[in-house]
């Protein structure tokens, strides 16, 4: 049998699509590995060394990687915490107490997990604000914006299910309020609330469902959305802007800089900086444990976590049904904003409505959040 003269020797790795033979590393171990992992190192080097626009040197443009890093912290600490957590109403609170007081370094893991969740939500919000105000959601990146909105929703739901698992008073009554809000959604609300709670009220089934959501469904969802988000980001490339500032624009000769190692080093600074900040927060402000959930005693003053303050205040101001419908509308508007914005800009190309609306929305959220933070009832 004749062999193709251009074909690589049998057993040697080739580039995808029957391309050229992959260059073999010089070391024996390298060659061993290359034969078993036939990755085109040149192609990998090409993709990883892709030049990125100069403005990525600015810290404001590094927020995208931050939630992903914090998500990794959450995954590691969450797995360790789940070794001790018991998702049963009769044991949940005690198991968290055990983690905080008896398990070696348990207090540290729990504090890191809680602080990291808060920072992750803050980082997602800041990242989305950057994307929104720089118009980076516009064509052809509309889908990635929508995935981002999905990630924001999943992250908030992650936070909610997380603090519900502790089974403090806030956990129980927060879940009760969330159940009531869900019930107020027209038509599907009652069914959705029952699905979420596993019954008419928050009970044994609710904790199990929240636990499964928190450690199984939401991590898988976020991983999938994050994968799609990064993939689309890589396919489209980094959004290029026209900056007036030479610092952001760079010089004519150096409009870009290498992703590796320059930008990776920047992300590394952010990552290690975050690890340091998280450790400091955990040591200086370790997470405590409030009163155990008591279904028979409604606390006189109950507040959710800070990222739901605005919804809570809005609910108090407008009433249950209007609040649920309006929050649903805001969510839909945020999701569809790239298309709404495009329609507006088609009619008025120079419109700055999105920026104005964005400022208005941020101001409203800040006012409602601060108002709820300082309100006594």
């Amino acid at each position: 049998m004749n062999q193709d003269a251009t074909a690589p020797p049998a057993g040697e790795p080739v580039a995808p699509h029957g391309g050229r033979p992959l260059p073999l590393p010089k070391s024996r171990a390298g060659r061993w590995l290359q034969r078993r992992l036939p990755i085109d190192l040149d192609a990998l080097r090409y993709y990883s060394n892709e030049p990125v626009p100069n403005h990525l040197k600015h810290w404001w443009w590094c927020l995208g990687g931050t939630p992903a890093m914090l998500f990794a912290v959450q995954a590691v600490t969450g797995i360790l915490l789940s070794f001790y957590y018991v998702p049963d109403p009769s044991q949940a609170y005690e198991s968290v107490k055990r983690v905080s007081t008896i398990v070696p370094f348990g207090w540290f893991l729990r504090s890191i997990h809680r602080w990291s969740s808060n920072l992750m939500i803050a980082a997602v919000i800041l990242h989305m604000m950057r994307v929104f105000f720089t118009g980076a959601y516009r064509k052809p990146r509309e889908l990635n914006w929508m995935i981002g909105i999905g990630l924001l929703g999943a992250t908030l739901f992650f936070g909610f299910t997380g603090y519900s698992l502790v089974y403090e008073q806030l956990s129980y009554w927060g879940a009760t309020v969330a159940g009531n809000l869900t019930e107020a959604v027209p038509i599907i609300g009652p069914y959705l609330a029952r699905l979420l709670r596993g019954g008419e009220m928050v009970g044994d089934n609710t904790l199990t469902r929240f636990f499964i959501l928190h450690i199984g469904i939401l991590p898988a969802l976020i991983t999938a959305l994050l994968g799609a988000h990064v993939l689309l980001f890589r396919l489209h490339g980094v959004t290029e802007f026209e900056f007036e500032s030479p610092k952001l624009r760079g010089s004519e000769e150096k409009k870009t800089f290498p992703f590796f190692p320059d930008h990776v080093m920047t992300e590394l600074i952010v990552g290690i900086g975050l690890a340091f900040v998280l450790t400091c927060l955990a040591v200086i402000f370790p997470v405590g444990l409030a009163e155990k959930a008591n279904p028979l005693q409604t606390p006189p003053h109950i507040k959710p976590e800070w990222y739901f303050f605005w919804t809570f205040r809005w609910l108090k101001l407008t009433g249950l049904t209007f609040a649920v419908l309006s929050i649903g509308f805001f969510g839909f508007l945020a999701l569809a904003w790239p298309f709404v914005d495009a329609a507006i800009r088609r009619r008025r190309p120079a419109s700055e409505l999105s920026v104005r609306l964005g400022i208005l929305a941020v101001c409203a959220l800040v006012v409602l959040t601060v108002w709820e933070a300082f309100a006594t009832h």
């Binding site: 190692p261 600074i269 040591v283």
Partner: protein
């Protein structure tokens, strides 16, 4: 920022991060120092015991492992070792040991506590043998009722099982066997083979020797309960008991130091008032050290040095109550006990004395109904009334106390006394003296004026139709 500058920042941040992890380790170490976990210290002899007993009696071994004794290296052998000359000593795996750890053994380390206890009323609890109670239990009810009932609280006199020829029975290893009617027994006044009295494990259950358990009211409630001395029931219905149940989590029961007003403030337990430390007095294992009355006998009397004892109790009360409150309580308590004495105890005793003086009762106790009636009057109902008022249990003072005392006295004891007296002049005089006293004048009938007052009150309060 150049790449080198970034590298420098990464290095600096990495250093800071690692340093912060050292702080985390330091905080974790501090946590361990604040909450030391029991780390058993096991001597060579006790280690040998544990090798087998962790398999044979794992629960005992585990309880000991969690105990304070374990942390201090007080192991199996340290407590159970015995001198060859001790009567109950036997050889076990090459060592001389004894089964029973007596207060004399505990006192080797806890000298002051052992001394206090030997002076306490608790240590005398088995001395009731020979009293009327013992005849009732051992003869009338049956000896095993006493063995498994009375003795389990009061304490047995520990003895060896005997062979027919009177020698001590031994098992195949040569271990002397204890008389099963006298042991197992953790009665508070147990008379031990070494002559010491008591069983520390009555309150400090072996082998955890938990402080918290000894401070729980339930420990006292094992014996201080029931129809004749329902202290635990009275405590539970009192404000003190309610506060304890409500705030149990705040009682700090496991704390080494347990000073009222310093280490806990939530509620008092039995131990708080009768034994535990206040800011002015140390803990005592003489449970009578703060008791001013004896409410046990037919006629209550104040104990020796009662003023000193009362001051000690008032010092406990003063952590929560003002002096006026305490003084008013004691005025009312004293008056109520004196009312029991003068209205029921002294008259009933005088009638019984007259019946006995006139030989109208047989010398055999409890063979006549009036003796049962008299016994119930003072030993059950009368004690309930007195103990109820002493511990602020209103229902035990009245419905379970004086109400039943009155019913027993007027409609059971006095009729039986008349019947037993059979018209004897001395008994008749005694009965007349009782009924002529002002406390019992109501029995002769109400004056028309008094009756009219009551009718008028009922008419006003409940309507005219309620008064026929």
């Amino acid at each position: 920022m150049t790449l080198d500058q970034k590298r420098m920042i990464v290095a600096a941040l990495s250093f800071l991060f690692l340093a912060s992890l050292l702080v985390v380790a330091w905080v974790e170490g501090g946590k361990e120092r604040i909450h030391p976990k029991p780390r058993p210290v096991v001597g060579a002899d006790s280690a040998k015991c544990l090798q087998c007993h962790e398999q044979k009696t794992p629960v005992i071994a585990a309880q000991w492992t969690d105990s304070r004794h374990a942390q201090l290296g007080v192991g199996c052998y340290e407590c159970h070792r015995a001198d060859e000359k001790e009567p109950d000593a036997f050889q076990h795996e090459g060592k001389w040991i004894a089964t029973i750890v007596s207060p004399a053994d505990c006192g080797a380390c806890h000298q002051d506590i052992a001394r206090e206890f030997q002076h306490s009323h608790h240590s005398q609890a088995a001395q009731f043998i020979g009293s009327l109670d013992n005849v009732l239990g051992e003869v009338i009810e049956g000896r095993l009722a006493a063995v498994n009932g009375c003795w389990q609280c009061h304490g047995s006199t520990v003895a060896f099982a005997k062979e027919k020829d009177g020698t001590v029975r031994k098992d195949k290893t040569g271990k002397p066997m204890l008389d099963p009617t006298t042991w197992p027994n953790t009665g508070i006044g147990r008379v031990n083979l070494d002559g010491s009295r008591g069983a520390c494990s009555a309150c400090h259950s072996r082998h955890a020797f938990s402080r918290a358990m000894a401070r729980q009211p339930e420990v006292c409630g094992k014996c201080h309960m029931g129809p004749d001395h329902p202290q635990i029931e009275i405590y539970e219905e009192s404000k003190h008991g309610i506060a304890f149940r409500t705030r149990l989590a705040e009682m700090n029961l496991s704390s080494e130091s347990w000073v009222l007003g310093v280490d806990y403030t939530a509620a008092p337990t039995c131990a708080t008032c009768h034994m535990s430390a206040t800011r002015n007095q140390p803990v005592t294992h003489d449970v009578g050290a703060r008791i001013s009355w004896t409410l046990r006998p037919v006629i209550s009397r104040k104990l020796d040095e009662w003023e000193k004892k009362r001051e000690a109790m008032k010092d406990v009360c003063a952590n929560c109550h003002a002096p006026d409150f305490i003084a008013a309580f004691y005025t009312s308590f004293d008056a109520t006990v004196e009312m029991w004495n003068s209205k029921f105890a002294v008259p009933a005793q005088s009638v019984m004395d007259a019946l006995r003086a006139r030989h109208l009762l047989t010398p055999t106790p409890f063979d006549e109904e009036i003796e049962w009636s008299f016994y119930r009057l003072w030993h059950h109902e009368g004690r309930r009334a007195r103990m109820g008022v002493s511990m602020q249990g209103p229902d035990y003072t009245q419905w379970h106390g004086f109400f039943e005392v009155a019913e027993r006295f007027y409609f059971d004891f006095l009729p039986k006394a008349r019947e037993a007296g059979r018209g004897d002049p001395q008994v008749t005089r005694a009965l007349k003296a009782v009924l002529d006293s002002p406390e019992h004048a109501w029995l002769k009938g109400m004056s028309p004026e008094d009756r009219a007052k009551i009718d008028a009150f009922y008419r006003e309060r409940y309507g005219a139709e309620t008064v026929k």
